[in-house]
Amino acid sequence: MAQPLGPGDARRAALLLTPAYLWLTAAVFLPLSAMLFFSLLSDAPFRGADWRFTLDNYRAFFATDVYATLLWKSLRLGLTVTALCVVIGFPCAWVLAKTIRGRAREALFLLIILPFWSNSLVRVFSWAIVLRGNGALDWLAGLFSSGDVRLGLLFTPTAVVIGLVHSYLPYVILTTYLALQAIDDTLIEAARSMGADRRTIFRRLVLPLSLPGLAAGAVLVFVPVVGSFMEPRILGGRFGAYFGTVIEDQFVAVFNWPLGAALSFILLAVVLAILSAAAPVLRRAQGAAA
């Protein structure tokens, strides 16, 4: 149990905490600050390059509607993927929390969570193998119809959505499952004893109680999807330009780091706005899971 600090304890606590937080500062918080600084420069200040402070990089965002369009495209992608994850994931979480019991539940829960923690790049690549022309999906479709079937799904926005849903679906199932599991079965039985039908129970009891978990899952899907670049690159082909890929380009192809930093920072601002708007819900979800 947490105790108030005694005289020697303050030193001991500092000793235990400092290395970890020093590391986080050097590797996360200082870099994020450096990025803000960088986004205000006219040129990368390396090799004696001439640089000055400027807002040009942010002006560039507004000067053409290329970036704004791409950001909007990324946000729409985020909404689509999140909505699909919620619609597909909620029934799974429900079945897992309320229908299946005992060891089977543990095993199924693990099976759903396992891919999420495994290599996402490889999982995206596996969809490329499935969706490619003449790939496994075409072959499967060919079994059910005559002739050569070419669905041609790879390198389409649909492929990007499929890959991202595949990547993040377990997250929604996890958080929703935790929220649903926290709902005492006797609450539902009480509602039934008072004559509530299944729809009323869902609408008045289950949904409100599981909403924090569901919302937490949604936010935790939406944020990384908006910042995704690897999935669109592999599965999107020439439709694969999103806000994330433009940022990647600035760092690995165009080498306009200040612009990249500014775009990254705009993305960070969007992300932080979403996270802070969702903060109360996230806290509640965390409380429910604890």
Binding site: A13, V95, I100, L114, N119, S120, V122, R192, F251
Partner: protein
């Protein structure tokens, strides 16, 4: 609502299995294709291990795999040590600013890795470290650290502090209390945290992608650059191995932690 919803719950279970199929089918297909003889993924399937033989012969892939393993192992050691220390302090002491410190664990997890990775790139160049294995390692530890703290903290949260009092009342020195009571309780959390750290590092692509030097890549970065050149069954083979390793690590972690789910 187990009873009274017969067809509905059967439908739900069917839905669950469909989702599981959706989650695993592509991985299975990819793994199968790595054993298909045709270099163009042609069907019908003809079993062959030639792509794994090719992998073994590929010095670049072997070097990247070794690099990934070394970085993951080092990340695990550092992140586990620092993370356990921080978790212990956060559990044991009440002090001002503790809530802030706990909140600071979330940015590395919640901010998209694209942003974190590019920010690290900028900063490491700014301080003269540049790209390369040290930069990758520093980044990986920072990403793995919060997971270790959270997992170990979760384990400690269920610790009954009267156990320590009981040990002291029985005459145990502080060292004996730690060794015989507190640490044995922490151990499963520490093992789970370490395995998470390993998985985070071994699977990490985005941050490695920005921080690794070309020709000095980790396995996921090498896979990515190969994919962009074109799909080959060799990539299937190496991907199959990578996902096998990370799933094994996570299955092991699951024995010690329940990923937030209650048992």
């Amino acid at each position: 609502m187990r009873e009274g919803g017969g067809w509905l719950s059967r439908l739900g279970v069917a839905w669950l299995w469909a989702v599981l199929a959706f989650l695993y089918a592509p991985i299975v297909v990819m793994a199968l294709m790595s054993f298909n003889a045709s270099p163009f993924y042609q069907l019908p399937f003809a079993f062959s291990t030639r792509w794994y033989a090719d992998l073994w012969a590929n010095a670049e892939i072997r070097a990247a795999a070794l690099r990934s393993l070394v970085i993951a192992a080092t990340t695990t050691a550092i992140a586990t040590a620092l993370g356990c220390a921080a978790a212990l302090a956060l559990f044991r002491y009440a002090f001002r600013g503790k809530a802030l410190l706990q909140a600071l664990l979330f940015p590395p997890i919640a901010i998209p890795w694209l942003i974190t990775g590019t920010a690290m790139l900028i900063f490491f160049f700014g301080v003269g470290l540049g790209r390369g294995a040290p930069a990758v390692l520093i980044g990986h530890v920072a990403l793995a650290l919060p997971y270790v703290v959270i997992v170990v903290n979760a384990r400690l949260a269920s610790f009954d502090p009267t156990l320590e009092e009981a040990a002291r009342s029985l005459g145990a020195s502080p060292w004996m209390v730690a060794r015989r009571v507190t640490l044995p309780w922490m151990a499963p959390g520490v093992v789970a945290g370490a395995l998470f750290a390993f998985a985070v590092s071994f699977d990490q692509f985005v941050v490695s992608y920005f921080l690794a030097r070309p020709g000095d890549a980790t396995l996921p970065v090498l896979i990515y650059t190969s994919i962009r050149k074109g799909f080959t069954p060799e990539i299937n083979a190496v991907s199959t191995i990578v996902i096998g390793v990370s799933m094994a690590a996570l299955l092991a972690a699951a024995r010690f932690s329940n990923f937030g789910g209650r048992r």
